[in-house]
Amino acid sequence: MTPASAQPDLEPVLLSAARNGDQRAFEALYRCHVGRVFAVCLRLCADRTVAEELTQEAFVRGWRKLHTMRGHGFGAWMRQVAIRVSLDDRRAHLRRLARVIPTGDPGADTGRSEPPGLAMDLERALAGLPPKARHTFVLREIEGLTHAEIADLTGVTVGTSKAQLHRARSLLREALS
């Protein structure tokens, strides 16, 4: 289901019901947006199992913080929650470090449909980037955050964020060539 096209008139109703404690409404929101949230988590952590845990944590945190949501669509807000969860989760970070990432293919063993050609190559190459470069690339080029926002989220300076992006792009170009 594509979030933007999934009965857009229904989302405010579901959101209002979920804010009033209706868990079924929240489940409906989850079903509409899980694909985008999982994609963010997976691209940031480069590990499907960890990404599943992060996605679950993001929705649990989303349910708890729903009353604080202001001025976003639910999908955009949930992706922000997912980014924070992915960057904050120390345990997931330690598990990522313990795993062998470079040959990581986010979807090689699943049998599900994959984006063809270059896009899949990019997913593979992304999974092989050093974590900081990968985070910066995903947040800037895929999620559209500014360098100031990335710097704030990752605890680095704007200059470092720009340098990480440059490094990521160079490594990805090399991997795709």
């Binding site: 594509t2 979030p3 868990q23 489940e27 989850y30 079903r31 899980v34 694909g35 985008r36 999982f38 994609a39 997976l42 499907r48 990404a51 599943e52 996605t55 679950q56 929705f59 649990v60 349910w63 708890r64 986010p106 979807g107 699943t110 599900r112 984006p115 063809p116 050609g117 270059l118 896009a119 190559d121 990019l122 997913e123 080029e141 895929i142 792009r169 990805l172 170009r173 795709l176 060539s177």
Partner: protein, 155 residues
């Protein structure tokens, strides 16, 4: 546009997880609700117990209060308490068993304090302090029952 830009533009907006993650999320939300439900009555019970303790501490060494009028306050307390207990018994199946257990445990503690006061008063019937303490403990029993009967279903 070079290969990298093409690849970025071609990335899928969504990637579906291999399994349904909702059951795990639902279980965690249920665990949070359950914890919250357990803590709420515990907090209420702690307040009641603290109140009973404070009441005993505050009244025990104080100057003797004015004599309590010989009214049938105890009969009234017992009657009110019995009515509320009956209401609570009727709603028992609507409440979380954990909550019911906590309420009953606290009622048992209060009843023990009532019995203790009543025995002391039998030994010293003219002791106005004891009589006040007994009345106060009865009031706390009724307050706890009122709180319990007001709990929403599923609490």
């Amino acid at each position: 546009m070079n290969d990298l830009e093409d690849a970025i533009a071609g990335l899928a907006e969504e990637i579906q997880p291999d399994r349904d993650l909702w059951p795990g999320i639902e279980a965690r939300l249920a665990a949070r609700r359950s914890t919250s439900r357990m803590l709420r009555p515990l907090a209420a019970a702690a307040l009641v117990l603290a109140g009973v303790g404070l009441g005993m501490w505050a009244t025990w060494p104080a100057e003797p209060p004015p004599p309590v009028a010989e009214v049938t306050w105890q009969a009234e307390m017992e009657s009110a308490s019995a009515r509320l207990s009956a209401t609570l018994a009727g709603r028992r199946s609507e409440l979380d068993p954990v909550t019911v257990g906590i309420i009953e445990a606290n009622l048992a503690i209060i009843d023990e304090a009532i019995d203790e006061c009543a025995r002391a008063l039998e030994a010293d019937p003219s002791n106005a302090q004891l009589e006040h303490r007994l009345a106060d403990t009865w009031r706390r029993r009724i307050d706890l029952l009122r709180h319990a009967t007001d709990l929403p279903s599923g609490s």
